[in-house]
Subunit: 408 residues, 4 copies
């Protein structure tokens, strides 16, 4: 509806049809159990991503199958499933090579990269009562048991995007046993990255964010924090935390993206698109690696300066070159990780996740309010339960309203 304009509309029950209206029998209809609000939705909310006016938001979806197309063989009505946010066909070269983030059949305009609820292929999002999922046999992750799924829904609802995304950032940064890690951003993705680093066996896990409430969640979970708005530069803060004389971490993850703020008391008040990437290049050890799931785009109407508006960033790559660094950018191929992470959740290997994410389940009617609160820097992860399936949705807000600046 335009930046900062959001409406709850009744769209009704969707059809088994692709964005152009063609019937697709490989699709299913889900009744949503949970559909989360994501930082990427905020980019749209802020007008930093173009999204077609009228596009239904919501790419973090979990639901119950209520209708299946005639070609669907594996998925059955009644299955409880997590929907990877990427739309992927399963038969193109990229899908076969597990790069479902860049499926070539899910976004005709761009030629690759489909997703629900964005300007990426025209697939309607799930912040609604029902949604359509194409190529269902390939795409859907089935939970083994409905009751167990509802019981662990606060964690399982993260499998559609942000837990795999944080995990992917860590994997691309080569986080493993004993790694020291710097994660830029303590929003929900950054917190999932911290949990993922923990799961991957990392040693010193450091998260940076301007927002104190978010830093506190991280600190209470037993990780370290740095404050980018401090007068002490990030590398100095990191050196102190590592305590071994090094100013470098083994791995670094950007969980912020283009809306990041600058550094120090002066810089931190405003958007400085290059701030996070240049810091990552500064703190990464020689032969270290960086994962960059934080979103960047050259189609950003709100880019803060002339160079950015032209689609360029002023990066300190020349100084970093001699350190032999690696960078991996882009969206997470959710299907590469979601089954494994589901297994870890079901066997209680991420006992710290629920509290770290600080999830609040809300009904669909509180979605506009929740966007505003999340935009204001809330340390919550908002999860919409449109049918009150989980019995966790509170129709009245908690009054929590963190009037901090937007995160990182």
């Amino acid at each position: 509806m335009g930046p900062y304009k959001l409406e709850v509309q009744d769209r009704g029950y969707p059809k088994l049809a692709d964005p152009k209206g063609k019937k697709i029998e490989h699709a299913v209809i889900l009744k949503l159990i949970t559909t989360n609000i994501c930082g990427s939705d905020l980019h749209i909310y802020h007008g930093r991503f173009a999204a077609p006016s009228g596009m239904q938001l919501g790419h973090e979806n979990t639901g119950e199958v209520v209708e299946v197309g005639s070609h669907v063989e594996r998925i059955k009505v009644g299955d409880i499933v997590s929907v990877p946010f990427n739309v992927a066909c399963g038969t193109c070269r990229n899908c076969k090579e597990r790069h479902t983030d860049v499926c070539v059949n899910a976004n005709e305009e761009l030629g690759f990269c489909g997703a629900y609820g964005f300007n990426l292929g025209g697939w309607q999002g799930g912040q609604a009562e029902y949604m359509m999922v194409p190529w269902a046999d390939f795409q859907l992750l089935k939970f083994p048991d409905k009751e167990q799924a509802i019981e662990k829904i606060r964690d399982l609802t993260l499998l559609s995007d942000i837990l795999p995304t944080g995990y992917h950032g860590c994997v691309e940064a080569r986080v493993g046993t004993g790694s020291t890690v710097y994660i830029a951003g303590a929003g929900p993705v950054g917190r999932c990255a911290a949990a993922s680093a923990h799961l991957l066996g990392a040693s010193c896990i450091i998260v940076g964010d301007h927002n104190k409430a978010r830093r506190d969640l991280v600190k209470n979970a037993g990780y370290e924090v740095v404050d980018p708005s401090s007068a002490t530069p990030i590398p100095d803060q990191i050196e102190k935390l590592l305590g071994n004389g090094s100013r470098w971490v083994d791995a670094a993850v950007d969980c912020v993206g283009l809306e990041c703020h600058g550094y120090g008391p002066d810089g931190s008040g405003k958007n400085e698109e290059e701030a996070v990437l240049n810091t990552l290049m500064e703190v990464i050890k020689p032969a270290g690696a960086m994962g960059i799931p934080g979103v960047y785009t050259n189609l950003d109407p709100g880019a803060p300066n002339e160079l950015n508006k032209k689609g360029f960033m002023a990066l300190g790559f020349p100084a970093a070159w001699v350190k032999s660094p690696s960078f991996t950018a882009g969206q997470c191929p959710v299907m590469h990780y979601n089954r494994e992470l589901m297994m870890a959740i079901l066997w209680d290997r991420l006992p710290y996740l629920t509290r770290l994410l600080n999830t609040e389940v809300i009904p669909l009617e509180r979605v506009v309010e929740a966007y505003q609160s999340f935009h204001d820097g809330s340390a919550k992860k908002y999860v919409i339960d449109p049918h009150n399936t989980t019995k966790l949705a509170s129709s009245v807000g908690t009054g929590e309203r963190v009037h901090a600046r937007a995160s990182a």
Copy 2:
């Protein structure tokens, strides 16, 4: 001194010399802080491995550097270090490729594979007051702080062998986030493998052992157990634990080796060399992988049958072939993992390790008694502190004496 014969002798202070007596200036002398008793020592104790009569046992060593050769640049007197059990030169092709388990310069007789306290190159073990370590700059892992090291010594002492060995078994079995894992053996290496699987993010971790006291340690740590001596076959026990209709695990690790027992009420009373490997091939999923750090050798005077005596095993490989399995055998290249695992310990990422291992620190004079107890199936990990550096050594036994059969 021969099977089941062990003596504590005074060998005095060692020289900076190789096994042939040639002066080596790249070596250092350590004053032992801890030196552990290992299942591999038991193989020697049982006469299943040849070891030169008079060889000083002990390949799991941690100590303080008290003398350095003139070529040593990086290691200093006073450093607290963990000694990988493999002896490795650092300049041969295998060492450069991180396969320090098969260094070609550390065992002239065999042509590769050196270790302390075995018949593998003639390097004296560390179950003593002092020991010599060659190629010290390459081999030794330095702990950052002596006080911290002593405080965490029960975990850090495992870095010389069994924690990396259990971890290596898991890595070779491709254990990762969400994996289901079967570990054969709940002895110290098996327990370290369970802890490693946990650290690596595994979901359902199942450990099999005949010894109830050892199984109880595993169960109390939150993992699953199966009993090979039960009339219910292992795959049936595993199927029940997985609870998803599968009889297969993603990954399997042999932490027992050639002294394993058979299965069921009948088989479990006697050594059946092939029992563990054939079970692993049975329970592994299609495209799954097996790690085999459990020790096998063709030079086994006590091999239980004619085929084994000739150096062969009757393996069910033909039935396994169609499952496309992978196997990786052999000793752990400790240096591939010990720094990373040290970091994880120092940052408290293995809080379950100490209790799972159930370590008892003893003085040198109790070593004969401890071998006997370990042979009898004790659920302890015995760690010798010859100088009482840790202040943890109890000169009197706990009376604990588990008269169970030897583990697995």
Copy 3:
């Protein structure tokens, strides 16, 4: 029809139906361009594999699409395609993880592992005029241009099985730039493995076979050969060829399987199931790896001894253990490699392939004769062109009949 009994029957045009007769709309019908005779077919021919009487053989198929089911989106009538010999659904866990060799939806009886023309799921083979291919969008590899495909058909026809299979054996044996490699078997798969090792940058490539005509093909292509029937043991022959004092190779590949012969003037006359695997373990370097695409099965009516008949092999694993070897067994997941190998062929990066394989294209009516000739140890690769699409099929044999023992 029973061992050594083979008939050419007219089965007519197949239906879009699964082995149970259920209609499947994700399938297509191919008019065969080429369908090759494979060593695995010989196992059936020899009665060493059970195959349902009346099963149509042929799992190495290339054809033109003449009919598509209503669910097929990507594949069109007129497409020229290579059919991977594995049948794979594209939506099970194993397929998603690229292990199409163990698809769990293509073989109901075994629970995994489907293939055309075997007792593996009941899918009819392609040694016929037409064949049905299920899950066509996922499975089929499309060639960019028909004319170019026909022109390079002698190489492209190998993409359905033996070129990827030989390549997979090398990949699993970790063959790379500069590797020294021992390949057991100079039959078509062994020759494809030699070509693959070359493509992968291997240095010294050694192939062993009893059959001189096959060894000559290998030698003429610039690789080295050893003769297992010589009185000089294989390791001594290898040592001489390497010329660097080593008796070990970096990588070893078993391209023979259970019908292998023994060694030396005495052993080489008869089947000794363990001969190849035990040799591989002997010649592999410490920390080396072995690929085992050669077929083994516990369901072998012709197993040469009692142990083998029970499904066991007497393997020299205990002596190999200390070398820290890796083994990977099983069928090749063709889809993991076929697109890449097609690209290499289309850009002329395997100029040595055609001559090394020594392909003869024959009409369908010569198939019985060709089986006999291949069984007799012919150094040809026989390719059936049932419609004479390639214009290469000679209706009269060349008279070539190598009366050697069966290869390796």
Copy 4:
């Protein structure tokens, strides 16, 4: 001596001493057989890299050992060896993890990354009669046979830097069987990258360079070329060559670095630091990877614009992000590849290398002239043979003087 100033001075026989003059017994002295002129030397020559006045150039060295320090165990007088251009200790964490490009003990000032003949640790280069090599047991690659080494010296001399460097670029770009590859730059490193892509099994190998003589070498070797100075944009030229409708390559390698020129008839006449990297991001396929061995630095006195002078580059990263690309920058860890590449050369697996590189062997007295010719865009690779060991050095120039603009 300053930009464009180069002198041949008599420095005499070096000492076994580190850059500060401290005796080091782990070093050896080499009598140079060959020492090559490299593009990186040109950066110094052009004043784009700081190098201490009086520093002896030359980091691509091959020689005969004439003196060994007392700690050296493995290397002997008379050995013919290749010297990796990185200086590396073999005992720091980075060296143990095979990242010898960022050894922390070889460059005290920067804290990591040592090399001969640069401002990287103070180690004297080899464009001389003799040179000193520290940590010789770890660093030196020994050739098996002197006579064979001299015979293949034109190829083997490339092992000290540019062949591994081009190969590393390809490996980091994940070039493998069937890959389509774009290589920026047809100078000696770019030509080695093309040869490496061939060795790695790439399909369509495309090299871009402004210099026609260099493009001709590439074309004659059977690879494709594009001309950045053409009015047709690079992606259009690539699309035409691929011939499959794609404008993207699987892998891209920057073999140019900061002295690259712009594009098109206008841009190509002048240095535009970002030109290559921005093109790589444009032509890389979704989920593709880029290797960046081309040199960048923030310490470039000749940086072409204000942003560059401050150490930043204006990179089109925001548009590339959605393609999920990977980048790996930095120097090649030569020891990771040189043994394998030596084996491939010794077994004649790179028969195209000599002609593609177009090497000219010259005596030491022609070095100033050769620098000028190389700066002028010569399509030769100049190799100095100071003692005329190879008998290949021509004391008179060929008169070849390609008056083209500097490459790429």
